[in-house]
Symmetry: C2
Subunit: 327 residues, 2 copies
């Protein structure tokens, strides 16, 4: 257990792996210059969600480092298990990661029959791989993660996520997802899953039109993409742009879904689900159920067929904006 | 604009209405003794959600007082509008109140044909009344709120909520909801809505079995109740108990639904929806649509028929527990 007064800095920390007896230095400056930290707690402050912050009580800092792309921190929280933080933003907690990983993987893969080739962009922690690997029809799982340090620390500190890498169908490419996709032969994949961080930092390009064009090209006719698509409560302007872009690029269906993840800002996260022209995909009515009998060792915690369909039902304020951009 | 260093205390504040020039005194001790407050921010720390806290940036404290029952605070937040806090817990923010008020009112009222007599327990801010009043079939709206000061401050600071009191069908009773219900003649109401705070403090009895028995007695055959029922991420043990109690008491259907409210702990809030023996109620398939044409002046922001049905679809971890208690 860490000292109650341990303070966690959200950014600008040197590469450092604290030894047991280390005292981590206190810094209370968040990116916007406001004192950001309850002593002994990690606070998530960002211009992406101004005026609010979610905080978790820290028991022990397990890792702090700076990769080529971002600051990486891992801590043991008091009530959410281990937590992975990139550039001051929570990516994963052991307590609620099931919601995000299961939904971003099974929403697309349960919507098409017999997915065989799947590409994951981002998702370096391995949690999405773990979920994709539940599908016995899948023969090849490629992953392109830009930051090798994320892969390394996940293997060290998050074995329940990084277990995804142990599947023999997985091929890891450490590199730029945008460049990787450009080199993919046309029509290669049945599904592409984009498990990105927010569009500030290394993931910025993953929210732009040229990227979606590359995704569409890499998919077979009637193939599907699922991308992390922010919060209806906080980011309707970003979502509007994504929907507009996708409507121009994907000639099949274009849909927005959402789910609950307590440690993500506003408590929800959305997904953009699109299909290319070809065999029609009705995302709201999954055709490829993932049965618990295939997953007896590690049953699904969050996803089921009902919550799949429900995820596409939007509050009126969001439906109005998204429907207007979808036509 | 308040000074950036203004500090908001979550509890134990004297009755005080700060004048413009007042400086509110700093206190940083939360109930568990840990320093809880980012200067200039309100942090919500409670043993009901240990190890985490949501914080909102404060622009100005508008009211602080202590009623006979609880501490009451209202502040202008930087990005969530005005915020009502009872005993250190956020009850309402102007930015996201639509989700809670619309769902707790329309989930029950859209599930039965022609509701005429409705009772609201709690809900002193008036937001639930505003939503109940959208239903043109309703002839009588009784409300029993224990804390008159909540009603007063809502009328002063939250006109968009307290507008509910202006409807001529509304009868306000300031008093104990438990006692009020006991005195209600059997079979009086078509619907009872319990808009309570958490089961620590004045609302404790509203989560116990004798209260649910009084509710069942006050409802007509085939009448419905909707009660605030905590978070599937944080309070499954409380939810289990509520479901068990309701299953014993309500001879019709017993259901759990949930929705997203960013400023509630874990970002979700649940509702227990039950009906008494008599005409069957299928909560998942609403029979009494609330049409936008009836609400042209103030359209619904959150609720629609799709999100009504979707609210009953639960993540597997919650479904498993709730289904086991429902049989």
């Amino acid at each position: 257990m860490a000292d109650q007064n341990t303070v966690v800095a959200a950014s600008d920390l040197p590469i450092k792996r604290p030894r047991e007896e280390d005292e981590v230095e206190a810094t209370t400056k968040a990116p916007d210059g406001i004192s950001s930290v309850i002593p002994g707690w990690f606070s998530e402050i960002s211009p992406m969600w101004p005026g609010e912050a979610h905080s978790l009580k820290v028991e022990k800092i397990l890792f702090q480092g700076k990769s080529e792309y971002q600051n990486i921190m891992i801590f043991q929280s008091a009530t959410y298990g281990k937590v992975l933080v990139l550039d001051g933003v929570i990516q994963v907690t052991e307590r609620d990661e099931c919601a995000y990983q299961e939904m971003i993987a099974h929403l697309p893969l349960c919507s098409i029959p017999n997915p065989k080739k799947v590409l994951v962009i981002g998702g370096g922690d391995g949690g999405v791989l773990r979920e994709v690997a539940r599908h016995s029809s899948v023969e090849q799982i490629d992953i392109c993660e830009i930051d090798g340090m994320v892969v390394e620390v996940s293997k060290q500190f998050f074995p329940d996520l990084a277990v995804g890498y142990e599947d023999p169908r997985v091929n890891l490419h450490v590199g730029d997802g945008v460049a990787f996709l450009k080199a993919v032969p046309e029509g290669t994949y049945d599904a592409v899953i984009v498990d990105s961080s927010d569009p500030i930092g290394p993931a910025q390009e993953l929210f732009e039109k040229p990227f979606f064009e590359s995704v569409a090209k890499a998919l077979r006719p009637g193939g599907v993409v699922c991308t992390q698509a922010e919060s209806i409560w906080l980011h309707m302007h970003i979502i509007e742009d994504i929907v507009s872009n996708c409507r121009q690029i994907f000639k099949g269906s274009v849909n927005y879904a959402w789910t609950t993840v307590p440690t993500y800002p506003s408590g929800v996260i959305g997904f953009m689900l699109c299909s290319t022209g070809g065999p029609a995909v009705d995302f709201r009515n999954p055709v490829n159920p993932i049965e618990d009998k295939d997953n007896e060792k590690a049953p699904l915690k969050f996803y089921n067929k009902e919550i799949h369909s429900a995820a596409f039902c939007l509050p009126s304020f969001a439906k109005k904006v998204i429907d207007s951009k979808s036509k």
